[in-house]
């Protein structure tokens, strides 16, 4: 493997004598915080997955005792048979954990923290201590949410969307403390996201290394930056709404209480005004990292860098004016529905730009199928399916039929699992060496990839069919309906595939832990990548660079005729390169 050691600025051996607790627990180092987020959110991914398995058991084999379900208390599953009230807790907590505590922290908490300073060439976040608080409040939020599963009457029961008034009044939902803990946890999480986003935005704007102009930033940084803007503007709305919900629950206020003049739809407006930007928070970082990985794996500059940037920006902007597409049949003003439909459809345009640019990047490339690359290509393939199913729902008349059916469930898993999670299965091994100094196993990674890819499609593709048949979401027992009885074999098939999908994840789990301690020692730049982070040793040392690196070119100069290797790092100075004029100025 060729190295660029000649130009690489290997960090000096600054010995780090902070005590353990300051180094790994209450650390202000952005890399440690990213790693803390990684462990915590992988744990919650596991929790979310376990909840999904219980759901799938009930849906595939309604009313049968769940193997191992005997350990659950009587109030959830007497004799292992899941109760309806436990089932809706499962749905609610599965959605909540996956969205708020697994995918969002994985993408933003881990990679915004880890990558932004490394990729823009700075020593840490702008506000390291605020950053630490951002982790700890997310952690507290997670604990509160987890605790809510164990309180009497169980966890929140109104779906991850928490529609009022079901969520607002205890006599409607039957849950008390669980419902309140959900609101409290979400407020804490909102705080965490705001503190985090504030850091990412300031850092990206102000702390770029010399030469790192706006249009030399890797797309992952662009995506994380725009995501942070979405976060800083969207999460406060959710916090505000969750606070109102909490007050309805504990103080008896009437925001969402129709008999006293409150409005049920107000919650939906608030939630989705946050919620749609949120789903782009869940996909944009994935898109950014996939762009980096695909360019790297194709050994080619990203196709249409500038239009990729503008696509990210326009997706983020459009994301603010489409929230009503979740409410087409909610009784919302139908004229408003029309305008939300049009704005929603328009989002297909920047998404198309991104998709075709990824393909353009691969076109005439020299594709190396590493595990990150495989997962990144799968991301494109699967995100497109999810995105295209979004078009059906955006068309209001069709949505009237498929709203709140498994068609939606299929859509959301195609974008969230097929999209975000595949991107993460690519990103985790890609940056693993920079985090831990070791490589994850390639062969096992490939086995995990192929099995996941197959089982994932077997689980979620048939859900489109269920949706077309009118199979409602969030129902405990589909066999209650005559018209769904013929579909039970399909449900059973999905469930079995889901168990296999989960079992496959054990490979990842083992690979992750094994590599952490026993993996192959990582070289400095194992993927022959152009990013600034690869100029550091693996793992990246505390404080990153001894002297600030200088950036001479864009991030995707693969196969450049100027270099003999097929990559040309951003930090490598060629004789023809000029030193950047002092500081990069905004807008250049």
């Amino acid at each position: 493997m060729t190295t660029v050691a000649a130009t690489a600025q290997v960090a000096h051996g600054h010995h780090d004598d902070r005590p353990f607790i300051r180094k790994y627990i209450f650390s202000t180092d952005h890399k440690i915080i990213g790693i803390q987020f990684l462990f915590v959110s992988l744990f919650f991914l596991l929790v979310g997955g376990l909840l999904a398995m219980q759901m799938r058991w009930q849906l595939g084999f309604p009313g049968k005792p769940m193997p191992g379900g005997g350990i659950l208390p009587e109030t959830m599953a007497p004799g292992g048979v899941i109760l309806p009230e436990y089932y809706i807790q499962l749905v609610t907590m599965h959605g909540t954990f996956m969205v708020f505590f697994a995918i969002m922290p994985l993408l933003v908490g881990v990679y915004a923290n880890f990558l932004i300073p490394l990729k823009i060439g700075t020593h840490d976040m702008a506000f390291p201590r605020i950053n630490m608080w951002s982790f700890w409040s997310a952690f507290a939020a997670g604990l509160v949410m987890l605790a809510s599963l164990f309180v009497p009457e169980g966890a929140a029961r109104a779906g991850w969307t928490m529609y009022a008034p079901l969520s607002a009044r205890h006599d409607y939902s039957g849950a008390e403390l669980g419902q309140e803990l959900w609101s409290i946890s979400i407020v804490l999480l909102g705080l965490s996201s705001i503190l985090g986003s504030l850091n990412y935005i300031t850092t990206v704007i102000n702390n770029r290394a010399p030469g790192m102009t706006w249009f030399r930033m890797p797309l992952s940084v662009w995506a994380l930056f725009i995501t942070a803007i979405l976060g800083i503007l969207a999460l406060p709305v959710l916090s505000g709404a969750a606070i109102m919900l909490l007050f309805d629950q504990i103080l008896g206020t009437h925001f969402f209480d129709p008999p006293a003049g409150g409005q049920a739809l107000l919650w939906q407006h608030l939630f989705w005004f946050f919620g749609h930007p949120e789903v782009y928070i869940l996909i944009l970082p994935a898109m950014g990292m996939v762009s980096d990985i695909i360019a790297n794996g194709s050994r080619k500059p990203i196709f249409g860098y500038h239009s990729m940037v503008f696509a990210i920006i326009s997706i983020a902007f459009l994301g603010w004016i489409v929230w009503g597409h979740h409410m087409f049949v909610s009784g919302m003003n139908p004229t408003l529905g029309s305008s939300f439909m049009v704005s929603t459809l328009v989002i297909a345009v920047p998404s198309a730009v991104k998709t075709f640019n990824w393909m353009g990047t691969m076109w005439r490339g020299n594709l190396r199928f590493t595990v990150p690359m495989l997962n990144a290509v799968a991301f494109v393939a699967m995100f497109v399916i999810g995105g295209l199913s979004g078009i059906y729902m955006a068309a209001t008349p069709v949505d009237m039929f498929i709203h709140d059916t498994y068609f939606i469930v299929a859509h959301l898993h195609y974008v969230l699992f097929g999209g975000s999670l595949f991107a993460l299965f690519g990103a985790i091994p890609f940056w693993f060496p920079k985090m831990f100094g070791r490589m994850m196993s390639e062969p096992w990674g490939k086995i995990h990839f192929w099995l996941t890819f197959v089982f994932y499609n077997l689980v979620f593709f048939p859900m489109h069919t269920l949706g077309m048949a009118g199979h409602m979401r969030r129902i405990y027992d589909p066999t209650q309906y005559e018209f769904l009885k013929p579909y039970q074999p399909l449900n059973e098939f999905i469930s079995i595939s889901a168990f296999l999908l989960f079992a496959t994840q054990i490979i990842f789990f083992v690979n992750f832990w094994y590599s952490l301690f026993k993996g192959k020692k990582a070289p400095q730049n194992p993927w022959e990548d152009n990013g600034l982070e690869w100029s550091l040793a693996s793992p990246a040392p505390h404080g990153n660079w001894a002297t600030t690196p200088t950036v001479y070119r864009g991030p995707y100069e693969y196969s450049s005729p100027q270099a003999t290797e097929d990559y040309l790092p951003q930090y490598k100075k060629l004789p023809t390169d000029r030193e950047p004029a002092t500081a990069p100025v905004a807008g250049h």
Binding site: E85, I88, Y163, P165, L166, Y172, S173, G174, P259, A264, S298, R299, K300, F303, G304, Y305, S307, V329, G331, N333, P334, G337, M341, V342, L345, V353, G360, M362, W363, G365, N366, L367, F369, A381, V384, I385, L388, S389, I391, Y392, A395, T396, P397, V398, M400, F401, D404, T405, T465, M468, A469, G470, M472, R473, Y476, D477, F483, P486, Y487, D566
Partner: protein
């Protein structure tokens, strides 16, 4: 088990299915282009020793093409969908001669109020039946939806009609059944632990049958045995 949409049981089911198929075609084309392209590239451009990738930063022409085509398609799709939307859910879409039925949803049942022999809601001969919706075929029906407690959703797959029932709001929805038979009405908005069993039966009668049923039911109701 069918792999396709359920029976078309209402006047606008055909339109919705048509739109569904149109989108299926559009997205199908996009799907094939993307997936086939990906597979092709993966096979054709896999790394071979000694080869260097083609160095390019993009092409403005390609960029314009793949921005413009989706843009035009999406605007066209928006216009077409909106045309149907206005007919189906628009604010003036309810046919003036529609036959009124009241639906009151509560945890976890549907209370269906019929206008009685005089065909008007809110008069003395109205009567209420639990979990049974009887409608005549070939006649537009307008539902007056109200909720006792939380949000429910009125959904009959064969009619392709769905409307949330929101407490504090008086919402109207209409449809016109075309095929006599028995169907199911499901609640499709999570409304509590009994959500999954908040189900009612839907009977679509021929107009004559419906009149006969109405007479019988009204008589029974007058005798005070309304429900069931």
């Amino acid at each position: 088990m069918s792999w396709w949409l359920p029976l078309k049981g209402s006047t606008f089911a055909g339109e919705i299915d048509g739109l569904f198929i149109a989108i299926l075609v559009i997205t199908g084309i996009a799907f094939v282009i993307v997936e086939a392209g990906l597979i092709w590239f993966v096979v054709r451009y896999r790394a071979r020793p000694g080869r260097k990738a083609f160095y390019t930063h993009g092409s403005t022409r390609a960029e314009v093409i793949w921005t413009a085509i989706p843009a035009v398609t999406m605007v066209a799709l928006g216009l077409v969908s909106n045309h149907y939307w206005v007919q189906i859910k628009g604010r003036n879409s309810i046919p003036p001669n529609a036959y009124p039925i009241g639906i009151h949803a509560k945890q976890f049942e549907w209370q269906v109020t019929y206008p009685g022999p005089d065909g008007k809601l809110g008069t003395a001969d109205d009567f209420t039946v639990r979990n049974q919706l009887h409608v005549p075929a070939g006649r537009p029906i307008v539902l007056a939806l109200s909720s006792e407690d939380v949000i429910h959703s009125f959904f009959v797959p064969q009619f392709r009609v769905r409307q949330d029932v929101v407490p504090g709001m008086d919402i109207k929805a209409w449809f016109q059944a075309t095929v006599p038979g028995t169907y199911e009405l499901g609640c499709s908005q999570l409304c509590g632990l009994g959500h999954y069993r908040m189900r009612a039966q839907v009977f679509v009668h021929t107009p004559e049958e419906y009149d006969a049923w109405m007479k019988r039911a009204a008589k029974r109701a007058a005798q005070g045995e309304a429900s069931e």
